[in-house]
């Protein structure tokens, strides 16, 4: 009886709500029609610059500075309409394909959708929520990196915890190669959305660019009143929504299993195909397609849920929609998971410790690689879960997890089989990194760029030399206090080093002979960044030419002491050289660069300018 009553009540409710929406649609249509005849209410367009930079994935500048950092994107433009390589702009950490070519770069994930190009992002908060009518990005150097602009329904400045966080794409496109480095105002045609926003996210892909892209300011234009068009628009059902389709799937699972066996021939000749062949075909589908296909018939359901389809899982392209619920649905299929990419996921409460740990407990056993870049849901218990559930983890990426507490990193030392560890822009402290190096002796690739909490890099370097003999790549970008002593120990101990990033390490003095010592000890060196070390001189370059024939990437930006003659020697001695950054080397002018480029056409010789 009670159930009958409640059913009746439910039906009534649905009727009412349906008629309600229909009525509303009608009135709004009427409003539009009458509006065309009468005078439209004037809605004032608000124009605002970003108030605050809320989050970003990487930047060129150092953490406590305002030169080349992402924080420069807030506020009014500093450089525009000038073009050039200026300190006042926002610059990402990488550009071009150089970083992907390195051995330290992980292989790309299978099933990455074709439309997903984003490599870096930045999130900007604005003062007032508006219905956006236009977004302008002022790009002041090598434009063309922006691939997506998104808007969020959540107000980042409100005190309430985020509920119903929706991200809507305002514009998306392919990465482009703009031929000139000249400044431009990028104003794409944006989609109108039906909620006001004051949180924008800009995603970039710099892989086609010739140099670092520089962004000066972002302008959000919009109206405070909901525009008529957006109100009239039918709500779009997001078929890509993973969690919804998953739920349907779990509902439908039952009936299929019961009635499916009898009508086996219903699939035509398709199920005569060998199991492996169907699996191979399915391996080309993106994840949402796979989930949709699983709902079509029993045979495909079985194929699509096969754990062998889920040995690599990159959820990064779906960062905006992924929640605990979706992870829960995927859990049963991912028992053979080897590589997992959760980068950018779980922010603003989408993932919690419970959801994450239950997934890791179910799927962490055979996990070898885990990407968690910019995951701000991570806390100390999460890292403890990782250390307990993933005994065989070889790769861990925590880059830009800048809100993760220092004590959390102590758990990493339990992952003794680690080979690749990325800790770029994290708060790891001296004791934690030393204990990691003590136990993880198989490390091949280590990134400690911009780790501002490490007190003494010399100690870290000598620990590396003592424990990690098989180190291939080391990134010490912007480490504050590495001296020639630490560097000498490092290159004596880690003779396998192929990639070494010592960019913006101001305490290394060439006069101590440390760079020559480095070159003599690392004959396998392929990448060397000595960015903005003012002491790099001719004898260093000549020693590199004499000792490191396999050099591919060299950056000696910002030294006054290197002459064209020694560079010529280097270019002749290193036939595999691909990248040579000579920006702000005062002895090397544009004419020299052109001459060298003419002589060595295979080398991309970089020289940026300020107007």
């Amino acid at each position: 009886m009670l159930t009958l009553m409640s059913m009746f009540y439910y039906i009534c409710l649905r009727r009412r709500s349906r008629s309600g929406t229909r009525g509303e649609a009608l009135t709004s249509r009427r409003a539009v029609e009458s509006g065309q005849r009468a005078v439209l209410p004037v809605s004032v367009e608000v124009e605002q610059y970003a108030k605050e930079v809320l989050d970003f994935s990487s930047h060129y500048g150092s953490e406590n500075s305002m030169s080349y950092t992402m924080w420069n994107l807030a506020g009014v433009p500093n450089v525009y309409p000038s073009s050039g390589d200026f300190t006042q702009t926002a610059v990402f950490r990488a550009y071009g394909k150089w970083w992907e070519q390195c051995a330290s770069a992980p292989p790309p994930f299978r099933r990455t959708p074709k439309g997903f190009h984003s490599q870096d992002y930045i999130e900007l908060g604005f003062e007032e929520p508006v219905y956006p009518t236009a977004v302008d990005v002022l790009e002041t150097y090598y434009p063309g990196a922006i691939v997506q602009i998104m808007a969020c329904s959540h107000n980042p400045f409100s005190q309430n915890p985020p509920t119903d966080v929706r991200w809507e794409v305002l514009w998306s496109g392919e990465p482009t190669k703009v031929l000139t480095p000249q400044a431009r105002q990028f104003s794409p045609n944006i989609k109108h959305i039906n909620f006001p926003t004051n949180l924008l996210r800009i995603e970039v892909n710099s892989s086609l660019l010739d140099y670092y892209t520089e962004l000066d300011a972002v302008i959000l234009r919009g109206v405070k009143e909901r525009p008529m068009l957006a109100r009239y628009k039918m709500p779009i059902i997001d078929i890509n929504d993973l969690s919804d389709s998953e739920e349907e799937l779990s509902d439908l699972g039952g009936p299929f299993r019961q009635g499916g066996e009898a009508k086996r021939t219903g699939n035509g000749y398709f199920d005569k195909l060998p199991y492996e062949l169907i699996q191979l075909i399915l391996s080309h589908l993106t994840l949402p397609d796979l989930c949709r296909l699983a709902q079509s018939c029993k045979l495909l359901h079985q194929h699509c849920c096969d754990p062998l389809q889920y040995t690599q899982l990159s959820l990064q392209p779906y960062w905006g929609r992924l929640t605990d619920v979706s992870l829960g649905h995927l859990q049963s299929r991912c028992t053979l998971l080897q590589r997992l990419n959760l980068s950018w996921i779980g922010n603003r409460g989408a993932l919690t410790l419970t959801g994450f740990s239950s997934f890791m407990k179910a799927c962490g056993q055979s996990l070898g690689s885990l990407e968690l870049s910019c995951c701000h849901f991570l806390n100390e218990p999460c890292l403890e879960v990782i250390s307990q559930t993933c005994p065989g983890l070889q790769e861990l990426n925590l880059s830009s997890c800048d809100r993760l507490q220092p004590q959390a990193f102590t758990h990493i030392s339990k992952l003794t089989r680690l080979r690749r560890l990325v800790l770029y822009r994290t708060k790891i402290e001296q004791t934690a990194i030393l204990s990691v190096l003590t136990f993880c002796t198989e490390l091949r690739h280590l990134n400690l760029g911009s780790c501002v909490r490490i007190d003494d890099y010399d100690v870290v370097a000598s620990m590396l030399a003592a424990r990690c003999y098989s180190l291939r790549s080391l990134d010490l970008w912007r480490c504050r206090n590495l001296t020639d002593r630490g560097l000498a120990e490092l290159v004596t101990g880690c003779r396998m080093l192929e990639e070494l990033d010592l960019g913006w390490c101001p305490t290394l003095q060439s006069s101590t002979g440390c760079f020559q010592h480095l070159a003599r000890n690392l004959p396998r060196l392929r990448k060397l960044f000595l960015t903005a070390n003012r002491t790099v001189c001719d004898s260093d370059v000549e020693e590199l030419a004499a000792s490191c024939p396999s050099l591919q990437h060299l950056d000696i930006l910002g030294t006054r002491l290197v002459s064209p003659a020694s560079l010529k020697k280097l270019l002749q001695a290193c036939p595999r050289l691909l990248l040579l950054d000579l920006s702000f080397c005062s002895q090397i002018d544009m004419r020299v660069v052109q001459e060298l480029s003419g002589l060595f056409p295979n080398v991309a010789i970089k020289k940026s300018f300020t107007q």
Partner: protein, 297 residues
């Protein structure tokens, strides 16, 4: 007797309270700058406020007005380095720090320190050195916070008298304290003082106080009494009259600098140091003149 005393105390309190109440208004600085380059290198067009190798800035933030002058050390020209690049970049960086609110008004040394740090963060391998003086008015508390490194400086003038001034910092005659970035290998040779070596002070200002911030080009050529005479002409507290006075001070200093028979403060000081020098001291001159006024949006 006792009641009279306590009554008097009450009255005094009321008066003082009234005074402090009158002071709840925010103050701000009305500032103008003017200056001359030593020789007329007009060919080089420089961004921002530069006079020869001198540079200066005037910046505002929601709780403070900030001024700064810097005097690029000319000796670097012999090494093929443009001395104005250092001072100009330093001042531009400090200006940005202020505009973006990356400072505390009570610590102008902080502005100088982070400004110097940002110079090292520039991709351009900057070389050079500079003196610097930064003056911050905290609008709410009416306190003037200053820091000074080297021989630039400032005066606070109230009712025709100097009530507060900066101290000059010199290693020895004509060699002021200076911030510097030396070329590799010459770190020990080049004089280089840490930004923390700057002399700091705080001072309460009143409405109508005049603050004159300038490089040594002014103070070496004009003694206090001449400056005070010029400042007397400043009657109104609007931008135009402030600019006019700044112009007349700078012009007079410029004229005196090229007068071979004038016994300038610099020549006086040189004589005290046993050097027989007469005349003005040709130098870049930068004058920042400010008047404390009530803050209006």
């Amino acid at each position: 007797m006792l009641s009279v005393l306590s009554y008097g105390r009450l009255v005094a309190r009321a008066v003082l309270g009234g005074l402090s109440q009158a002071d709840t208004r925010d103050y701000s600085l009305i500032s103008a700058s003017y200056g001359f380059g030593k020789d007329f290198r007009k060919g080089i067009l420089k961004k921002g406020m530069c006079y020869g190798d001198d540079a200066c800035f005037i910046a505002h933030n929601k709780n403070a007005d900030v001024l700064g002058v810097a005097d690029g050390v000319g000796g670097w020209r012999d090494y093929g380095v443009d001395p104005s690049q250092f001072s100009a970049t330093l001042m531009r960086t400090c200006e940005r720090l202020v505009k973006e609110g990356r400072f505390t008004p009570s610590s102008p040394v902080g502005i100088l320190t982070s400004g110097y740090f940002e110079l090292l963060q520039n991709k351009v391998p900057l070389l050079g050195s500079s003196t610097a003086c930064i003056v911050v008015l905290d609008r709410r508390s009416h306190r003037l916070h200053t820091c000074n490194l080297g021989d630039s400086g400032f005066l606070v003038v109230r009712g025709g008298e100097v009530v507060h001034r900066s101290d000059e910092q010199q290693h020895y005659f004509n060699t002021p304290f200076q911030l510097s970035i030396a070329p590799p290998g010459a770190e020990g040779v080049v004089l280089s003082d840490s930004p923390e070596a700057a002399d700091s002070s705080s001072f309460d200002v009143q409405l109508g106080d005049i603050i004159l911030t300038a490089t040594d080009g002014l103070f070496d050529n004009m003694p206090d009494y001449m400056i005070l005479q010029e400042l007397k002409k400043l009657k109104a507290t609007n931008y135009d009259s402030v600019l006019q006075t700044a112009q007349s001070i700078a012009k007079q200093a410029h004229d005196l600098a090229y007068d071979p028979n004038y016994m300038s403060p610099f020549a006086q000081f040189a004589c005290d140091n046993g050097l027989n020098v007469r005349g003005g001291k040709p130098d870049d001159i930068t004058v920042l003149l400010s008047v404390v006024a009530e803050y209006t949006d």
